[in-house]
Symmetry: none
Subunit: 211 residues, 2 copies
DNA sequence: GTAAAAATACCCTTTAGTGGGTATTGCGTA
DNA sequence: TACGCAATACCCACTAAAGGGTATTTTTAC
């Protein structure tokens, strides 16, 4: 019986690339491609999958939401997040959510296939060169952060604001209350001496706060 | 008559990805795939192509060499470099060589298709979020503006929003009513299919709309 | 161990932005 | 000249954000 593999990514170049790659491995795969999160949800609710490969930013939405609402349907599915956003807090969040693997999009093909073939296990997997805590840029080494005393969580919220998320959406992504997000926004404004999110985004761009 | 598209890339994930992507656009494309630079040269010397999509590092060789030696054969061909090496000096070199477009491999599918469909022109094109001192393409030829039909005044308002001005402040600067500003914002949102100014700023940054 | 800082979360009011309309004027152009 | 479009401007209702508090728990640092 072919291994049922579901891929969801609105980046078509990648969606097709991964799909073609897997087809040419010689393994017996039945691949279901989705660039639309709703169609993907429909499919997964009605069909069992062995492997689910998922981007985080599908249709400007959050892949985490999809993974969470399909938690029951995916309990026997190897879930793999494949994303360009290789951030510490996202990896931790994925781990908490019970995702099986978190891979960045630059992952070599062999590594991806290895992860797929390894099957469902208790171990959480992420890329070999992932260094916890001290990533490429240590958040606290950023001179801007030191100057304005922007905390880690505040920086995460700034990033999400810049991505176009509302306070409600940020609250959902970070699993915190909307009132907490509001508090953080308030504190950010006070620290940076600004009064709207457009100025915030301007500030972040000018100070390379997006790393 | 189908558009003759030649793709040369030794990275099979991408070669197949692009190929599948283009097949599924609904456009009438005849796609010729090459992972070998010699076979590709042979093909292009004997067959006219409408579009030639080329990596820079094919078989440890230089894609520029191929483009140069086939300059005569490609004089009516839209040549597109699609590469992971998105470096300033490479872009400038491509421009000088008469290449039509320089795209990085993370280019969204729509942008790639847009470039393919736009046909041979005098304008050199590179990715939307390519930031450099001197503008790569003139404002009114910006395919994004044309695609989304953003008017002159709308663009002006986008710029002011990005500077952090409120609708009231924008109204004062442009000597128009605040309700007019509101109307423009509304129309911008509709055209770009977004629903808040953070997304607008994100869009503008990604599409070099600030020139 | 304790103090500071960060993260959480709520109260409140006010202001700004969003989105559905409609409508007029003027300017190119087919 | 009639059409479309851009630019102007208003109505309405609703939602989101801003900014003033206070307060708890958790984490980090000394």
């Amino acid at each position: 019986m072919p291994k049922q593999i579901v891929i969801c990514d609105d980046h078509l170049l990648f969606l097709n690339g991964i799909s073609e790659l897997l087809k040419n491995t010689g393994n017996n795969y039945c691949i279901h491609k989705f660039s639309d999160v709703h169609a993907c949800r429909q499919h997964l609710m009605q069909n069992a999958a062995d492997v689910f490969i998922c981007d985080l930013n599908i249709n400007h939405n959050d892949g985490f939401l999809l993974l969470e609402e399909l938690k029951f349907q995916l309990k026997n599915t190897k879930t793999i997040i494949l994303t360009a956003y290789y951030e510490d807090f996202l990896i931790q969040k994925a781990k908490k959510l019970g995702v099986d693997a978190f891979l960045k999009k630059e992952t070599p093909a062999e590594e991806l296939i290895e992860v797929i073939e390894s099957g469902k296990s208790k171990e959480f997997y992420t890329n070999k060169n992932y260094k916890q805590g001290n990533s490429v840029y240590s958040t606290m080494d950023n001179p801007i952060i030191n100057k304005f005393r922007i905390s880690k969580q505040e920086k995460e919220i700034i990033k999400l604001i810049i991505k176009g998320l509302t306070s409600k959406e940020i609250a959902d992504v970070l699993f915190i209350s909307i009132t907490t997000v509001t508090t953080h926004r308030k504190n950010i404004h006070r620290k940076l001496e600004i009064s709207n999110s457009s100025s915030l985004i301007k500030f972040a761009h000018e100070n390379n706060l997006l790393l």
